[in-house]
Amino acid sequence: MAIKRDDVLHVAALARLELTEDEITRLETQLNDILEAVGKVSELDLADVPPTSHPLAVVNVFRADEPRPSLPLEDVFANAPERDGDYFRVPPTGETEA
């Protein structure tokens, strides 16, 4: 088993997912199954092959650096869960990270 319960918890913390106990158990099994299947890529010796990150040979697309109007603030906040003046309001961030 490549992934153990502790790995699931570690990755969930990195991904900011507060998983339920049920989900932790299920994901441990499923992630191991999937990783075993996708681990197939390691069968190939590709030491000399360059990686591909993008399907097109497009590089450095430039445009003139001219100021344009941004979204009006009312639009920016239209879907906000909580607004405080011209700010998005969130709970205190002072706690230590998970």
């Binding site: 900011r16 507060e18 999937i34």
Partner: protein
């Protein structure tokens, strides 16, 4: 009386041009069909009651941002989210006069092959409502197939346009990477996502592709696109068609699917094409594994934006990080969570090279194999999906079984290639799709080949039970 089951977008446009029908009557006909059938099929998530445009109606997959119209991507985390701007493709449809009928159902965040991962319940296949319409864009495909929209837009990362088009008996194009803007599209995997048309005919497909394609300064991955040619030739003379052994003999291809595709390949020869076998030795064998590393990695990054801060769902908590984690657990369904976890793991310290890095190298191998094949051929053909539409619930308990639905559409997608799926026959009374793959920017060749085959095959796109 307008028969929405048979009316093509091209014919609808002609009727509007000749004043045989008013825009309002045309819209009403589709709305009537929706009222009659969408209760059973659940193609739509949101219906739009009024539209000031006077052209052919259209349905848009619910990953496509539409100003003032709720856009959920099939996820509860975006329930109630109303975009304040139009995606470029929605804006281009508007500029072309198309009337928006509504937003169609999909697997949550376009993750799935059946719409069963939708946060709002699955769509049903119009050919047999006990079966899935495919996915992720099952709502768009089922709507076109059942006459609930003359045409629609989907998005395709691993096969989300081609596979549902195959399962519902439609024509679906996944265009070349970079030909259609993704500005305002809810992102899944940015090195793969493409928007494309789902239609009844190849000519409709070319028409809609002509409307949405082309460079967009809001999406720096887009490029200038060759002018679209509406196909009308009925032969395939001078076309070199390759039959990749691995894409046609992959494990899991149903005999009825293989037979239907074999007949279509014979037809290619009869229509004057030079047909020969070829090989993609590693693209098919390693394509799925490569995809299920790269796609989740990119998805885990793209989905980081759903944090309960700027829009959509928030679950309250005393602290910030607790709020974010709680919101994401409550809002995402099982499949997004699985892919976020997988992608985060594949990108995390100590595993990056072995998984993500290696997958990017496999991607290079896939590019090279297709490049080699296109030195000998103009078009490659294979089944689109290894199976016809499967039963609802058949694969929901086994993520890996669901992933295999895209085993034949993924390899060309990894190489940014365009793929057109056209219906080529029935197996067990259900549609079979033929996948036509071309080099980058060869959409016109695919339209030409697809149109000639479509005319020769004479497939009736109307589901038998609705005729």
């Amino acid at each position: 009386m307008i028969d929405t089951l048979r009316l093509t977008a091209e014919e609808a446009r002609r009727m509007l041009d000749d004043n045989e029908v008013s825009p309002r009557e045309l819209r009403a006909a589709y709305r009537e069909a929706i009222d009659a059938h969408d209760g059973e099929l659940h193609c739509y998530l949101t219906l739009v009651d009024e539209d000031e445009n006077d052209g052919v109606p259209i349905a848009l997959k619910d990953v496509i941002s539409t100003e003032g119209v709720e856009t959920t991507a099939g996820s509860k985390i975006l329930e109630g989210y109303v975009p304040v701007f139009d995606s470029t493709v929605a804006a281009r449809c508007k500029a072309a006069g198309l009337q928006l009928l509504g937003k169609t159902n999909l697997d949550e965040f376009a993750m799935g092959s059946s719409t069963e991962n939708s946060g709002y319940g699955p769509s049903k296949n119009p050919w047999d409502p006990t079966r899935v319409p495919g996915g992720s864009g099952g709502g768009s495909a089922a709507a076109v197939s059942a006459g609930l929209a003359p045409w629609a837009l989907g998005s395709d990362t691993g096969g989300s346009i081609k596979q549902p088009s195959s399962l519902c008996g439609n024509v679906g194009l996944r265009p070349t990477y970079g030909t259609v803007s993704r500005y305002g599209i809810v992102a899944l995997a940015s090195s793969l996502d493409q928007v494309g048309p789902v239609t009844k005919t190849v000519r409709d497909n070319a028409l809609l592709y002509g409307i949405i394609s082309g460079r967009d300064e809001c999406d720096s991955t887009t490029v200038d696109v060759p002018p679209v040619q509406l196909p009308d030739a009925r032969d395939l003379k001078g076309l070199r068609i390759g039959v990749p052994k691995e894409l046609n003999e992959a494990e899991g291809i149903e005999p009825g699917v293989a037979e239907s595709v074999r007949r279509a390949i014979d037809l290619c020869t009869e229509l004057g094409a030079d047909v020969d076998e070829c090989e993609l030795p590693r693209s098919v064998e390693y394509g799925l594994a490569c995809y299920y590393l790269i796609m989740p990695a990119e998805a885990s990054s793209n989905l980081a934006r759903y944090d309960g801060v700027r829009y959509a769902l928030r679950k309250e908590a005393d602290g910030y990080y607790e709020m974010v984690s709680r919101t994401r657990d409550a809002g995402f369904g099982d499949e997004p969570k699985r892919r976020i976890m997988l992608g985060t793991y594949a990108l995390s310290a100590g595993y990056y090279e072995a998984y993500y890095g290696q997958a990017q190298k496999v991607r290079t191998i896939i590019f090279r194999e297709f490049d080699a094949a296109f030195e000998r051929f103009d078009v490659l053909v294979s089944p689109t999906s290894p199976t016809v539409a499967f039963r609802l619930g058949e694969k929901t308990e086994n993520p890996l079984a669901m992933y295999v639905s895209d085993v034949l559409t993924i390899p060309p997608n990894m190489a940014g290639l365009p793929g057109l799926s056209i219906p080529c026959g029935l197996s067990e009374g259900l549609p079979v799709g033929l996948q036509l793959i071309g080099p980058q920017f060869s959409e016109n060749t695919l339209f030409r080949a697809g149109h000639a085959l479509e005319q020769a095959i004479g497939f009736d796109t109307v589901p038998e039970r609705l005729r």
